[in-house]
C-alpha cells in the first residue's frame, strides 16, 4: 500500500526536477538537445511498451508510424502552411489507418511471425517514402520550412527550451496513458493475452479487439511524436525516420533495457541509452560510423545472455513453451 502512495509522489517529484533542469543550462546548448532527445525517446519507448510490453506483440516496425507522423505534418506545413498541431493530428489518423490495415491480417500472429510481419511493413513504407519523391522529396530528405516569427501554434521556437517542455509534457501525458491502460480493463485483458492467449479467449476476452486497440493507441502516439521530432530536427530523410535501427529497434531496446511492460522501463532505458549514444557520436564523430549501433547490438546480446528468461518473467509463458515442445513432431527437415 505504501508503495502505491509513494509512486505518484516520486513521479511528481521527478517531473518537477525535469522541469527545473533547463534553468541551469544554456537554452541553445548541446546538453539541452541531448535532454530533448532523451525525453522524446523515453516517450517512444513508452508508446512501444503498450504493444510490446503489455500485449507482448513484439513490433519491429514502429518506425512506420513515426515516419508517417513526421512526413504528414511536414508536407502539410510545406504545402498549405498548416499548423503542425493539426498536421500532427492528421498524421495520427493516417498512422491509425495504417495500423488497422496492418493489424487486420497480422494481429493474430504471435512472437516471431508478428515481429517479421511488422519488420516487413516498416521496410515497405520506407521503400515507398524513398521512391515517392514528388511528395516526400525522396532519399535526399525534406526540411521543415523556417518561419522567422516562430510561435507555439506553428511549433517553432528560437531556442529548444519550449521544445523541451513540449517533450516533457508529451512524456507525462504518454506515461499517464500507459498507466491508465495498464491499470484499466484493457490492461488486464492484455495481460491475460500475454499470459495465455487461449485461456483469455476461453474466459471471454476479445483478444483480437484488445490487441487492435493497443496497436492503434500506440500508433497514434508514435505518429504525434514523429511530428514533434520533425519540428525539433527541421530536417530528416526516409532512412532516418523509417529506419529499423534508428527508430524501430531503438524504441524496443529502450523499453526492454529498463524492464519491458513497466511504467519506469522506457524512462530508465532512454536515460541510459540516449546520452551514451550522443556522447559516443560527438566524441568519435564520423570516424567511427556504426559504433553506436554496434554498441546497441552488443548491449542487446549481453543483456539477454545475462538473463535469458528475465525479460518477461512469465512462468506461464515458459510453461507453455515446455508443454508445447512435446508437439513438435509435425515439422521435418528436408
Amino acid at each position: 500500500m505504501t508503495r502505491q502512495r509513494l509512486l505518484p509522489v516520486l513521479l511528481f517529484a521527478g517531473v518537477i526536477i525535469l522541469a527545473l533542469i533547463p534553468l541551469g543550462l544554456d537554452p541553445r546548448g548541446y546538453e539541452m538537445r541531448i535532454l530533448c532527445i532523451t525525453l522524446l525517446f523515453a516517450s517512444l519507448g513508452q508508446a512501444w511498451n503498450i504493444v510490446g510490453g503489455l500485449a507482448n506483440q513484439i513490433s519491429l516496425g514502429h518506425a512506420a508510424y513515426f515516419g508517417i507522423g513526421a512526413y504528414t505534418s511536414t508536407i502539410l506545413l510545406k504545402l498549405f502552411s498548416l499548423s503542425p498541431w493539426l498536421g500532427g493530428v492528421i498524421g495520427m489518423i493516417l498512422a491509425v489507418a495504417f495500423a488497422l490495415l496492418l493489424s487486420l491480417p497480422t494481429a493474430r500472429l504471435k512472437g516471431h511471425y508478428y515481429a517479421l510481419a511488422t519488420l516487413a511493413a516498416g521496410e515497405a513504407i520506407r521503400v515507398i517514402a524513398n521512391s515517392w519523391a514528388d511528395v516526400t522529396g525522396g532519399p535526399v530528405g525534406i526540411s521543415v520550412p523556417y518561419l522567422p516569427d516562430g510561435s507555439l501554434w506553428m511549433m517553432q521556437f528560437s531556442t529548444v527550451l519550449p521544445n523541451y517542455y513540449l517533450f516533457l509534457a508529451a512524456l507525462v501525458v504518454i506515461c499517464l496513458v500507459f498507466w491508465k491502460i495498464k491499470s484499466g480493463a484493457l490492461g488486464y485483458r492484455l495481460r491475460a493475452i500475454k499470459e495465455n492467449e487461449q485461456a483469455a479467449e476461453v474466459i471471454g476476452v476479445d483478444t483480437y479487439r484488445s490487441k487492435l486497440i493497443a496497436a492503434c493507441v500506440s500508433a497514434a502516439i508514435t505518429a504525434f511524436l514523429g511530428t514533434l521530432y520533425a519540428q525539433f530536427q527541421f530536417f530528416f530523410d526516409p532512412d532516418t525516420v523509417f529506419g529499423v535501427a534508428t527508430i524501430s529497434v531503438k524504441m524496443a531496446l529502450i523499453a526492454i533495457l529498463g524492464g519491458v511492460g513497466r511504467l519506469s522501463g522506457p524512462l530508465v532505458g532512454a536515460a541510459f541509452i540516449i546520452p551514451m549514444e550522443e556522447m559516443a557520436n560527438s566524441y568519435f564523430g564520423s570516424s567511427a560510423a556504426g559504433l553506436s549501433q554496434f554498441a546497441y547490438g552488443a548491449i542487446l546480446v549481453l543483456v539477454i545472455l545475462l538473463n535469458p528468461h528475465g525479460l518477461t518473467a512469465l512462468f506461464a509463458q515458459l510453461r507453455d513453451r515446455f508443454t508445447g515442445k512435446g508437439g513438435s513432431h509435425d515439422r521435418s527437415v528436408a
Binding site: P105, A252, Q293, H309, G327, R331, A334
Partner: protein, 296 residues
C-alpha cells in the same frame, strides 16, 4: 515475338537468381527447422561470406566461385562458436529473448563490419562477368544467359544437392533430422543433440555465406548488403514453409521469379515492395502452416 522473348528472358533471369536465393534461404530454414529459432541475423552471414570471398580474390587471386568454399569453412566454424556461446543459452528462452538476441547480433555484425571495413563498396572483376551464353538469336532480339549468373546458379545447385545428400543419406544427417523432430527421443537414442545443434547452425550460416560468395561477381559487397536480403530470404522461407529445406528451394525460386517479373511492371526502387506485400500476406493468411506446431 518480342513479348514472348521478354517473357522467356524474364523467366530465365528469375530462375537463375532464384536458385541462389534458394541456397541462401536453405540455411535459414535449416536453423529454424532444427532449433526452432528465427535467426534475424542470418542475412549478415551472407555479407560475411561476400567479404571472405572478396578478400580471397583481392589478396590471393582466388575466384569467388572457389572462394565460396573458404567462406563456407570459415563461417561454419564461426557459426558453431556462436551457437555454443549465444544461441544455446536462449534455446528454451521466451521468444522475446530469442528475437532480440538475434536482432542484437544483426546490428553487432553489420556495424562491426562497418567499423572494420568501412562503408566502401567492394566488387570483383572476373573474365566471365561480362560474357553471356546466347541461347537464341532472332531478328526480334535474343535470348541469353549471363555467365556470372549461370555459374552462381550452378554452384547453388551443387551446394543445395550436397546439403540434401548430407541430410537424407548420411548418418549425421539422419541424426540431425531426428533432433529436429524430437530432441528428447533423439537423446534417448544416443544422439548428442547439443552437437547436432552446433553443426546445424554452422551449416546453416555456412550455406548462406556460400550463397553470398557466389553472387559476388554481380552484387557488390558492403557491410549493409545483408539488409537487402533479410526480407527476401524470409519471404522465400515462409513461402515454402518455415523449417522445410525443400520448401526453401521452391520459395527461393518463386521469390526470384516474383522479383524479375515485378521489375517489368514497377520502377526498380519498388521491386522489393511486391515482396514485402506478398510476405505479409503469406504470413497473415497461411498462419496455420506457420504456427500450428505450437498448438499441436
Amino acid at each position: 515475338m518480342q513479348n514472348l522473348l521478354t517473357l522467356l528472358q524474364t523467366t530465365i533471369d528469375g530462375i537463375l537468381i532464384g536458385g541462389v536465393y534458394a541456397v541462401i534461404s536453405i540455411g535459414l530454414s535449416l536453423v529454424f527447422g532444427v532449433m526452432h529459432i528465427v535467426n534475424f541475423a542470418h542475412a549478415e552471414f551472407l555479407m560475411i561470406g561476400m567479404f571472405i570471398a572478396w578478400f580471397a580474390w583481392n589478396y590471393a587471386g582466388i575466384d569467388p566461385m572457389l572462394g565460396a568454399f573458404i567462406a563456407l569453412a570459415v563461417t561454419f566454424v564461426l557459426g558453431m562458436l556462436m551457437q555454443r556461446t549465444m544461441i544455446k543459452p536462449i534455446l528454451h528462452a521466451p521468444q522475446v529473448s530469442q528475437i532480440f538476441l538475434t536482432v542484437g547480433l544483426l546490428f553487432a555484425l553489420e556495424n562491426g563490419a562497418l567499423l572494420l571495413f568501412g562503408a566502401d563498396y567492394r566488387s570483383v572483376s572476373t573474365g566471365y562477368q561480362t560474357q553471356a551464353l546466347t541461347l537464341l538469336s532472332t531478328e526480334a532480339g535474343r535470348l541469353f544467359v549471363p555467365l556470372d549468373k549461370l555459374y552462381a546458379f550452378l554452384m547453388a545447385l551443387l551446394s543445395g544437392g550436397a546439403l540434401w545428400y548430407f541430410l537424407s543419406r548420411t548418418r549425421w544427417g539422419r541424426a540431425m533430422r531426428a533432433t529436429a523432430q524430437d530432441p528428447m527421443a533423439a537423446r534417448l537414442m544416443g544422439i548428442d543433440t547439443d552437437k547436432m545443434y552446433m553443426i546445424a547452425f554452422g551449416l546453416g550460416v555456412g550455406t548462406t555465406a556460400f550463397g553470398g560468395a557466389v553472387i559476388l561477381p554481380y552484387i557488390t559487397a558492403s557491410p549493409t548488403v545483408g539488409s537487402q536480403f533479410v526480407v527476401l530470404m524470409f519471404t522465400a522461407v515462409v513461402l515454402g514453409g518455415l523449417g522445410s529445406v525443400a520448401g526453401a528451394v521452391v520459395g527461393g525460386i518463386m521469390v526470384g521469379l516474383i522479383q524479375s517479373f515485378s521489375a517489368l511492371f514497377l520502377p526498380i526502387q519498388l521491386m522489393n515492395l511486391t515482396l514485402f506485400v506478398i510476405f505479409i500476406l503469406v504470413l497473415a493468411f497461411r498462419p496455420e502452416g506457420l504456427t500450428a506446431r505450437r498448438r499441436a
